[in-house]
């Protein structure tokens, strides 16, 4: 039962969440926090997909959310493995120290 939730507010919420995630990626130096902010951005997109799926009464959007979650799980598994390897080598996951490719 959905009682009068406006699609515009859902879009606004999604935009705000995406912006918070983007600001987090720009403002933090800890690689794990940056990963978490990417998850936040993915969830912002998921909210929008569910909203339009309900608006158009079409299940495709929710199936897409399902796929996004799967890809996020795979990404996190590989990403955290890479981060633990980096931590093993240089004892830090500060993004400012990960500049070997720069010079």
């Amino acid at each position: 039962m959905i009682n009068g939730i406006s699609v515009n507010y859902l879009m606004l919420l999604s935009a705000v969440l995406f912006t918070i995630g983007a600001v987090g990626v720009m403002a933090r130096r800890n690689s794990i926090i940056i990963f978490m902010c990417i998850e936040l951005m993915l969830n912002a997109v998921n909210i929008l997909l569910v909203a339009f799926s309900t608006l158009h009464q079409n299940a495709d959007g929710q199936v897409f959310v399902f796929f996004v979650m799967t890809v996020a799980a795979a990404e996190v598994a590989v990403g955290l493995a890479i981060l633990t390897m980096i931590f093993k080598n240089i004892r830090s996951i500060d993004t400012n120290l990960l500049s070997n490719l720069k010079d």
Binding site: N3, T19, I20, R29, M36, A74
Partner: protein, 172 residues
Amino acid sequence: MSGLSVHQWLFGILSFLTVLFSLMVVFSRSPVNSVLYLIMSFFSISGIYLLLDAQFLAIVNIVVYAGAIMVLFLSVIMLMNLKEDTEPQRTVFTKIIAGIIGGMFLFVLTGVLKGVEVLDKKLYGTSHVGLIENLGKVLFTDFLFPFEIVSVLLLSAMVGAVMMGRKGFNKN
């Protein structure tokens, strides 16, 4: 104020909580606190899914995101022993620049949304799209091939993670 229905009130409260917890993820100094706030944020997002009649996704969001992925984050943070005092901080100047860029981005996004008058409608009635019966039918007919490919993706991600965690992987 009395014109708002219970669902609208719930939606307002849940979106406020989601935004608040997401802000706390970015602004909290301790990484463990960030993860916990992100879990809270995912729970409120699940509440929003429930309000939108997407019951299956609400449960999957809690089980997969808040249950599995966030526990993985938490265990890695505890493994690395990251604390508040070891947390690297950007300069205030960079943070202000990031805030300004984010504000401009949000401004552009809302500006675009304001122009979309077609979508200025409200959701009413009961939706059966989000029930697991309906989603399963779509998933196993229209999206059968992507579904199988995703299983291969998960398998390859698992193999990759195990490869990298192996002893002596980084010794040339």
